[in-house]
């Protein structure tokens, strides 16, 4: 029982922003808003919000590995793609009945985690770090992209599933909940929204607990000073490897959800542009905090989409300018910068009144 309560206490701590009743009241308010929002919205907006949520998981994975762990992974899209294709191959072969889509989801994430474990072992136990880590992970994701792009031929099939090259794999079933009186198919609409929202909340809270646990503290210690962490007796390679695998699983979850959302996955999802986008989202929000990462990712995604809709041909130019300005004005990321600014003002006011 105390262990269980201990977990709850870990929900706040030095590694995550937000503590105390005020924060959790706000959290509850936002959550209630998110739960109620489909009632006041249309199918398109809800489906579009799911789409934004889908990308949050890969952003969180990068926040974990890069923001907290200090290892710049340029290749989270590799795990995104492996899990996406994995889900496609499994469900096209075994169908969606008896809730198999959920098993496929887990298996696909497992595949991504397994590849990450092998790659991570190779990298961390080979003492590859810094920018070299970035280039190895980038090389892996580009390799996967190039390879998958040329699998258009009929010989590239796994069971009933054709990889279908650059055009991408489609026609996999969406997530399906077996139910009395017929299964519930979760198209990109209200149903999928609640499922993904639930996952997001769970992952967010779980990561908060993880980061405020002793494991999280060691991870941050490794980021701040790997030699010192090692001198203190921690096998930093093991910690880095575990973080990397958890991150890969999250990126994999993102990949499966993306595949489910559009019933489509393509090699471009592992290409250079796709690989750099999560870095942008995370850096804009503030990479060293989970909450900032989530808010930042949602802000950038929706902002860029709105710009593309209303910004005509200047959309990409605006995006570029915004990114440059963000970096210059808010060094720790937009969200983190804003929060620090606000707390400083509040503190100053308190001092003045005191």
């Amino acid at each position: 029982m105390t262990g269980f309560l201990g977990l709850f206490r870990r929900l706040e701590g030095p590694q995550t922003l937000g503590r105390g009743p005020a924060f959790w009241a706000l959290f509850a308010l936002v959550l209630a808003g998110a739960l109620a929002y489909p009632l006041f919205s249309d199918g398109y907006t809800v489906g579009n919000t799911v789409y934004f949520f889908v990308w949050v998981f890969i952003a969180l994975s990068l926040s974990l590995i890069w923001g907290y762990g200090g290892s710049l992974s340029f290749g989270q899209t590799a795990f995104f793609g492996i899990a996406g294709y994995g889900y496609g191959i499994l469900t096209i072969n075994f169908g969606a009945s008896y809730g198999f889509t959920w098993i496929a989801l887990l298996l696909a994430i497992g595949m991504a985690a397994l590849v990450a474990a092998l790659l991570g072992y190779f990298m961390f136990f080979g003492r590859i770090g810094g920018v070299f880590l970035g280039i190895v992970t980038l090389a892996v994701t580009l390799m996967l992209e190039r390879f998958m792009a040329q699998t258009a031929g009929p010989e590239w099939r796994i069971g009933a599933a054709r990889l279908n090259g650059f055009n991408g794999m489609s026609a996999m079933p969406p997530l399906t909940i077996p139910w009395f009186g017929g299964p519930i198919v979760l198209f990109a609409d209200v149903g999928l929204y609640y499922v993904v929202l639930a996952m997001l909340v769970l992952v967010y809270l779980a990561l908060r607990i993880l980061m405020n646990s002793s494991f999280g503290n060691v991870i941050v210690a490794i980021r701040e000073n790997p030699e010192r962490a090692e001198m203190l007796g921690y096998d930093i390679r093991k910690y880095q490897l575990i973080t990397f695998v958890i991150g890969a699983a999250l990126a994999g979850l993102s990949g499966v959800l993306y595949t489910v959302w559009g019933q489509y996955i393509t090699p471009s999802s592992m290409g250079m542009t796709a690989a750099s986008l999560p870095l942008i989202w995370v850096a804009v929000g503030g990479r060293s905090d989970l909450t900032a990462t989530i808010i930042g990712t949602l802000v950038v995604l929706s902002g860029f989409q709105a710009l593309t809709i209303y910004g005509s041909q200047y959309a990409l130019v605006f995006m570029g300018v915004l990114l440059v300005l963000t970096v210059l004005i808010a060094p720790n990321g937009l969200v983190l910068g804003l929060i620090t600014w606000v707390t400083k003002r509040v503190a100053r006011r308190k001092q003045e009144t005191a």
Binding site: Y44, P154, G168, A315
Partner: protein, 412 residues
Amino acid sequence: MTRSGLRGLRAAALTGTLVFASGAYAAENPIKLGVLEDQSGDFAAATIGKVHAIQLAAEEINKSGGIMGRPLELVTYDTQSDNTRYQEFMRRVLQRDKVDVVFAGFSSASREAYRPIVDQFNGFAFYNNQYEGGVCDGHMVVTGAVPEQQFSTLIPYMMQTYGKKVYTLAADYNFGQISAEWVRKIVKENGGEMAGEEFIPLGVSQFSQSIQNIQKAKPDFVVTLLVGTAQASYYEQAASANVNLPMASSVNVGQGYEHKRFKPPSLKDMYVTTNYIEEIDTPKSKEFYAKFKAKFPSEPYVNQEAENSYLAVYLYKQMVERAKSTNRDEIRKVIATGDVCMDAPEGKVCIDPKSQHMSHTIYLAKVGADHSISFPKIWEDIKPYWLGEAGCDLTKKDPMAQYTPSNPPPKP
């Protein structure tokens, strides 16, 4: 786009209440056409013209009274050469803007990205682009040319003219591989031999090794199925290495106007089968070209995809007027009659009811040493026969799938 976007929002508020409107109210109730094309990013060079062509056709139609008295309204988004943007905006035009029809897509990957969404929301989409063929989907109409139309004409001509040893240099993805399969098949049927085949990953821009491989194989001509701006660098590099072989292609010139962009004579002796390019010297074509240039004077080139998009708007108008409805099922009944035809800038075109692809006039364009274009041969009424022969019959069954010669529809 800002303006059209806002107009879209306002109009979205209006539709729904006016479904049964007739005559008097019609002007209030536009027919909405979604346009998802790449106006920025990698493919922009070949696709900005498509958007302009649609704008031109819509303007003409609206000037002459619209479709059944209803104005045609465009809802345009820039998809930035990005598959995920197609997914986002296809859902947007279908769910939010509630368009009657969508004209969308340049690359095959983008089409495959949006197709599941069109199928899911029971939408109606036109793909106005030449591609590798094989889409058997009742929700789609394809107005671009397909391999059997371009290769069954091009390859026999080249073999008669230059000889029977053929080398294929193709982009290493669906379009290139399937097109190469077609070339292989037609070369074999005509008693020729493949001197070699090489596939180039997308985005590769350096061709020294390929040039040497071609010289080693000593073919009579080279079929270049190179896609994208990076791969187009081949021509300049081959010319500077003095390869000096005739070339045949289904994608170049007609799509990316390489003969305008490269310095002569790098595309000398390039033969292309296309259903339209701006140099075509018929009254219909000249009239279209003049109208296009009048509205968009700075357009670098009017390519085949621009003409496909232009005529598609008119074809859609005809279908709606004959069906007296924008309902897809009603329109498909019209298509099923098999006589949806029109006099397009290229000549007469008809929609094939089995595959919902289009017959074309195929022009053989030859690039001269000074990059001028001549037309040694013209084939009229070339049908998109393969899907129908292979067993796709949309008048009976809608499998919503893409097939290839090595992966044909299942036999009933």
